[in-house]
């Protein structure tokens, strides 16, 4: 039972345009969400997060939107750059449970074409 799903395995975008990566979750206990970026042969690196008390969080070119009623979040990258080409993982946790363990989605491979 996948509690966090990223339904698009890959996404191709032209440089300078917007990239939108989507993530859905099923567990109502999740109240904190994170996006990680992963380059080949490296570990995932933290990108941006959002608490369930917010519906938007912005950090430079990266914005995460949360729709709690739809149990859906999205990561927007504007403008997209070739260096953004990587695999992006959505992760979720419940701050109400001990340990704050992360549940990851399967990832979306983003390719930004020059």
């Amino acid at each position: 039972d996948q509690q966090v799903k990223q339904n698009s395995p890959s996404l191709s975008v032209q440089e300078g345009r917007i990239s939108i990566l989507n993530c859905d979750y099923t567990n109502s206990m999740f109240d904190y969400f994170l996006w990680y970026k992963k380059y080949p042969a490296e570990g995932p690196t933290f990108l941006i997060s959002i608490s369930s008390i917010k519906d938007k969080n912005e950090d430079g070119r990266f914005t995460v939107f949360l729709n709690k009623s739809a149990k859906h979040l999205s990561l927007h990258i504007v403008p997209s750059q070739p260096g953004d080409s990587a695999v992006y993982f959505c992760a979720a946790t419940s701050l109400r449970t001990a340990g704050n363990m992360l549940t990851f989605g399967g990832g979306t491979r983003l390719m930004v074409k020059p």
Partner: protein
């Protein structure tokens, strides 16, 4: 600040052999995690330590996997005996573990191939 260190980076073994992975977390990070990432999937938590105590090991296949974190710093993950389906990247991550800090920092991982 030095990141999370892992070794070896790559390992190839035959099924039924044993293997061990090592992780050194970021200095001062109380919480340490081991994840298994199978090709094409997201990381799956195997075990979480808070200092040298286990917080959660519900997804660790305890008949063949074991992990320890001596003195609350370095950690080792062992597989004995290995199966073909254990082929994956094993990621170690650490976090401060303090209230209000949820970001985990990952090491580069160890790619295990079981033949």
């Amino acid at each position: 600040e030095a990141g999370v260190a892992q070794s070896p980076r790559y390992k190839i073994i035959e099924k039924r052999q044993s293997v061990a992975f090592w992780c050194n977390p970021i200095s001062g990070h109380a919480t340490l995690y081991w994840y298994q990432q199978i090709l094409g999937q997201g990381p799956k938590l195997l075990i979480q330590f808070q200092n040298n105590g286990v917080v959660d090991d519900s997804q660790l296949p305890k008949d063949r996997f074991s992990a320890e974190r001596l003195k609350g710093v370095d950690s080792t993950l062992k597989i004995q005996p290995a199966k073909l389906e254990d082929s994956a990247v094993y990621l170690c991550a650490s976090s401060l573990g303090a209230s209000g800090t949820y970001e985990q920092y990952f090491g580069p991982g160890t790619r295990l191939t079981v033949t």
